[in-house]
Amino acid sequence: MTPPAGGSGGDEVGFFSAELESMAELYQRETAGLMEEFDTKQAGAMQSGRFSAQDINALFRVVHTIKSSAAMMGLADISSCTHRMEDLFLLFRERPERSIGFESRIFDLMYLFADYVEKENARVTQKDFRPKSAESVLGAIQKEIDFFKGGPDAPAAQAEARAEEPAAPVRQEPAAGAAAEPLAPGELVWRVTLRPGCQMENVRAYLLVRQLEGLCGRIATRPANLESADAAAQIVRDGLVLTLRTSHAEEAAQRLSASPYVLRVEELGSGNAEAAPGPDADAPSDDADAPQSRQNKFSMVSWSNVMQLQNVTGELITANTILGASIRKTVQGGPLENEFQTMTRLFHELEKLVAAVSMMPVSSVVPQYQRLVRDVAAREGKQIRLAVTGAELEVDRSLLDTLASPLIHLLRNAADHGIEAPEARAAAGKDARGTITLKFENMTDHLAVTVADDGGGMDPQKILRKAAERGLLTKDESEYSTDEILNLAFLPGLSTNEQTNQYSGRGVGMDVAQNVVSSLGGSVTIRSAPGEGTAVRMEVPVSVTSSECLRFMVGPHACLIPIRCVVRILSLAEAQEHLQTAEGRRWLQAEEMLPVLDLFELYGAQPGEDGQRLVIIRDARGSAALLTGPVTGQQTAVEKPLPALIGRNYRTRTGMVGCTVTETGRLGVMLNADWLLRLCGKDVAENGNN
């Protein structure tokens, strides 16, 4: 077993010494970030089907950085694993052609390595943490190293010639002092001050310099020899002085500042004023006589704090809505209302800022989906490519986290049941390799996520038969349209697959997608053609903080529905002449025939004498008219989930998916257009874009 890093063994003592234990969380965050980069690079390589030189360099950098940090923490197994991975990537760095044709093999190894490091990293802050042996991972990496060394075009000598230090553009030499030596054109001198107590300052400095690799043509450090015994003390005293030449100064500064160990980065001088005039060369400098302070532009923030910030912002907006109603009742216009308007504007600014803080690129979640599809394909003996579009979009992390579950189910379904076996595809005249497309689209206030496959498609008759067997049909089989049949796939437990396996086949996936998306106030649609494939499209609102809602009464119940779903509001009296009764229900003759959903009947409420309205709603599923009581206004609503006790059946049976504080301070219920349209059943008027 790996000995405790603190040297104070014993089962009752933690693995780390007290000093290192205080560093464990930082190490964990840093490693998690690096592994995310590792996964992203791998996903990129899998997309393109090959490793570029940049991929190899980036992967090399990542494992090298983890190696150093792990060594610092006394995590010998991770350090050894990363060291071997360095060896492997070095083979490809020297001779990129070595990897060609063996990418799949390398991806497998990378998954094995990533699994080990990520699992260890997840545990590293636990009180009872003890490193797990990496023996099997080390063996697997060594096996691959031997394989790639032994290839006919990969002379062993070449790989063996690896120097202990990887080829690095770092040249450690005395820094040009800002005042002592004139700086060459394009040269910059920065002082990097590390956080007090960050420990092993010289090693941190070395890692920071390595992070600038690729951005800077030449880097000199002071102290010059970062490995010397007194380098750490000098860095504590004077900071790390870097003299560098780069055309990416901003990015280099950002990389340095992003390190959790860096307190600040200051510019001590630059040699570009005369010799390398840039677009800002003529701009007056306000720091001619003083070092320019480059405060950290990025910092790591605990996600729980961001979520707390989201919640508090939501509460503020709610409180502001109630305050606004009170102000409007007591005063009309005047300074108080002006102040309120200013506050409202500021709260919306705050909401936007919080939303921006919560954003993360879609690309950060793609690797897990690549992995999933690859695993299913390998297990089922299929060839599947996952094509991702829109990975560059930035989306609220909560939303991405929430969508993970339906995406996993949908991707599994597509890989397991959608894409056919290679022989079947070949027989059908298709490419033996199937494609699953995962598409993210920004639709202004909605995010659309589509999982589409070019597989065999769904068999409507099979779905209909299964639904009939389970007693799920609500009318005669002959009355179902193809779209209605496909929508039956959303019913819980309806799977047309004869066999289940570890991935799918229990009829859960579509149901999960439906429920999760509905809980977000979104909608799901499905399209499928036999022999051509299936596409499931989820549309969810992007704002997780607030939405503008129409408020109306249904008997005693205050109900709200997002304005974006509302097309028109008619008084029942006005619309009376356009109402018809057919097939036992009412219809509204508008531009098209719309089914009328009587909310009074649905909620068992008594309609009032007057004030009844028809609220026409529309979403991806279709359109319908809701019979409601009087419309009482419009408000910014922050949706809260209904108590878990109430259960999800309630949502599906009432269309009530959440609640919000109304202007009166009482809770109102949030309605979901998609569920209401489902309650209209077969009679929903489909949109043209369906």
């Binding site: 649905l602 209904l642 006790l645 109430i646 259960g647 059946n649």
Partner: protein, 152 residues
């Protein structure tokens, strides 16, 4: 009959007409007067509705109605309880006192159970006896009742 070991825990005693019920004080978040509750349609009778408690929607249940003896109109207090990650609020005629949980309990006879949705595994000896609510089981029973019932 059976007994359990004593603990240092406290119990909050609630009144429902002449009967006394106790809930573990460690589960009590707050004792409020009856809040402004929003009724939800198609709910069982014991569900008074929901209200906003510290930014979350909490279900408000009537002890009287859960016991099947009253409509909850005479209830004056609302005890917010945390059961695991969940919040529920129980309305009662009053909150009486805090008592030490001596642990000297007797397993209740089935005939003593007031209402099928309450789980009263034990009664505390006394005059009159105090029924100790097993909150977790009670929550599970109510949750099952919600899931099983077709309120719409």
């Amino acid at each position: 009959m059976g007994t359990t070991d004593g603990t240092d825990a406290l119990l909050l005693v609630l009144r429902r007409q002449q009967a006394r019920y106790a809930v573990p004080a460690e589960n009590v978040e707050e004792i409020l007067s009856i809040p402004d509750v929003t009724a939800l349609p198609r709910q069982p009778e014991y569900m008074r509705g929901i209200f906003s408690y510290k930014g979350r929607a909490a279900a408000v249940l009537s002890l009287q109605t859960l016991c099947g003896c009253g409509t909850g109109e005479s209830e004056t207090v609302c005890v917010v309880l945390r059961i695991g990650d969940f919040l529920i609020a129980l309305t009662a005629d009053g909150a009486e006192s805090l008592i030490a949980d001596s642990g000297q309990r007797m397993q209740a006879d089935g005939s003593l159970l007031d209402g099928k949705l309450l789980s009263l595994d034990f009664v505390l000896p006394g005059d009159p006896a105090v029924f100790v609510l097993n909150l977790k089981k009670t929550y599970q029973k109510i949750e099952s009742d919600f899931s099983a019932a077709s309120f719409v």
